[in-house]
Subunit: 313 residues, 2 copies
């Protein structure tokens, strides 16, 4: 990271969202731009207290804090943030079992993905930047079907069943964390493309005043209806927020102008500039999405600012 | 433990010694008297960084600190001592593999057995009472053959081989820890019973002035040649120490007098009084040894005193 880094401890990014909400895809680009050797990625799934068979036997959802070692997750985030190593538990999604732990040393940036990252005050306090992913629900179901059938050996029926079974736990344990996020990121198909699952998805960022968001007016002023909008709105909880909308069909020149603006705001990190927005499409080929790229860059902006000591810590 | 316990954190006992030095047998009696629900027992073997196959591939001994997560062991002892839970790694001696970790909460007493408990300053500082077991080497070989063949599925040849292979690592990593012990405990056969491996073994305690040892003179004064001796001696490092020798053939009355004296010195713990000195003999039957019982009681004395706040902490 920036050689003029001034904060003498790891910067912690949280990525909370339901299963198949796009956490890993978003995080992958952020890790790539910061430099993989400067980033540690954790999943709160590794802190499952019960393996898959035990959760079934106890009829308890992986989303339930009681199925997870929340206190150990708190302890490990605190240790990493203090610059200390941990022996991290490991949950294997393919087999649904808990295995041999791995030794993890802190690095400049720690990305914590998972279901329960903001469940307690101590967990929330361990983060510098908190994201919450809530893609359009029909879209998430498609993403989940594709991944769980291809990579985790489930049938489509099993996936639909598990979505149904999780609904109550999702409402009880996952959704209450939304309110603690600095940025809520929602990918959704444009109205005229209901079946879109990839490069042409729009994204909406709900920007809470808990972080000093970058001033985007220079780009906003440059032209009106070109796939990029910032509006004042009321969040679902009634609070006033900025809503940033980036259209999937934003043209490449316009996306580039926004990228240039964001990079110009963090000149210390300009040597890191690289292509963002990559994801695996329906045929498992690498594709690129401007809304994803810009989302990753906006988050990176905050991490760089935090590392430079521009945010209260 | 004593209801008038005054130290508000766990008391940590270390039991360091080579493989089959009698660590678990000694610790079992101490845990029994303190009350199993008041004691957490850990093995530093759980902190192996490499499993058995990996150690073989790398030609590295389990005794080598590099084969172990020493920093994580330090961290976990510090956490437990501070009253916090840990997710403890697990090494399975039967299979030689590392597996799913277990959640461990601190209790009033923590007994840490293993090979490397005093390897670093931080580890030593985490202990309240430090034991080092160095039984007569021919005796330890017999104990190790019996256990490893019966319980860990090795052949006698494999055991003898491993003893040979460990010799250098033992000298380099295990033995230097002896000097940090408060009490060095050495079981050994009496001169006239070279084959003894059980109830008639003598024990010698080398008592360093790093702990305030109990005043045993009332019992010493009560009679001379009766299986119980305290002498001023030079330790192998030349330093003056008290040597306490308890003979395997000490008569029961005399052993009882010493027990009574020790219990009278810790009246707060008298409700815990129970039979000590049990071990599994060559035929895996439970037998009793007076020297073992008195050794366990002497150690318990120190733990109770430490819990009562009588020792600097």
């Amino acid at each position: 990271m920036p050689s003029n880094r001034t904060v003498d401890r790891p910067i912690v990014l949280g990525v909370v969202g339901d299963s198949a909400a796009g956490k890993s895809t978003l995080a992958a680009g952020i890790a790539a731009v910061l430099g993989p050797d400067r980033v540690v990625q954790l999943s709160t799934d590794d802190y499952h207290r019960l393996d898959r068979l035990e959760r079934r036997a106890h009829k308890i959802s992986a989303l339930d804090p009681a199925a997870n070692h929340i206190d150990i997750l708190e302890q490990h985030l605190r240790l990493l943030r203090d610059g200390r190593p941990i022996l991290k538990p490991v949950y294997d999604h393919a087999s649904g079992t808990l295995g041999r732990p791995v030794y993890v040393e802190p690095r400049d940036f720690i990305i914590v993905e998972g279901l329960l990252g903001y469940h307690t005050r101590s967990l929330r306090d361990a983060h510098d930047v908190k994201l919450y992913l809530e893609p359009d629900e029909a879209l998430r179901v498609k993403w989940k079907l594709r991944r769980d059938c291809a990579e985790r050996g489930y049938t489509a029926d099993e996936v639909m069943n598990s979505l149904e079974l999780r609904r109550a736990a999702r409402r009880e344990f996952l959704e209450p964390q939304r309110t603690f996020a600095d940025i809520v990121i929602a990918f959704h198909p444009p109205p005229d493309r209901a079946d879109e699952t990839g490069a042409h998805l729009n994204v909406r960022h709900t920007l809470r005043p808990t972080l000093p968001h970058p001033d985007l007016t220079p780009v906003l002023d440059a032209g009106g209806k070109s796939g990029f909008y910032l509006t004042l709105a009321r969040d679902i909880d009634g609070k006033p927020v900025d809503m940033l909308e980036i259209a999937g069909d934003i043209d490449a020149r316009r996306a580039r102008a926004l990228e240039d603006l964001l990079w110009s705001l963090i000149p210390e990190a300009n040597h890191l500039r690289t292509d963002l927005g990559q994801f695996a499409d329906d045929h498992n080929r690498t594709a690129v999405s401007h809304p994803l790229a810009l989302s990753q860059l906006l988050v990176t902006y905050h991490l760089v600012k935090a590392a430079l000591g521009h945010y209260a810590v």
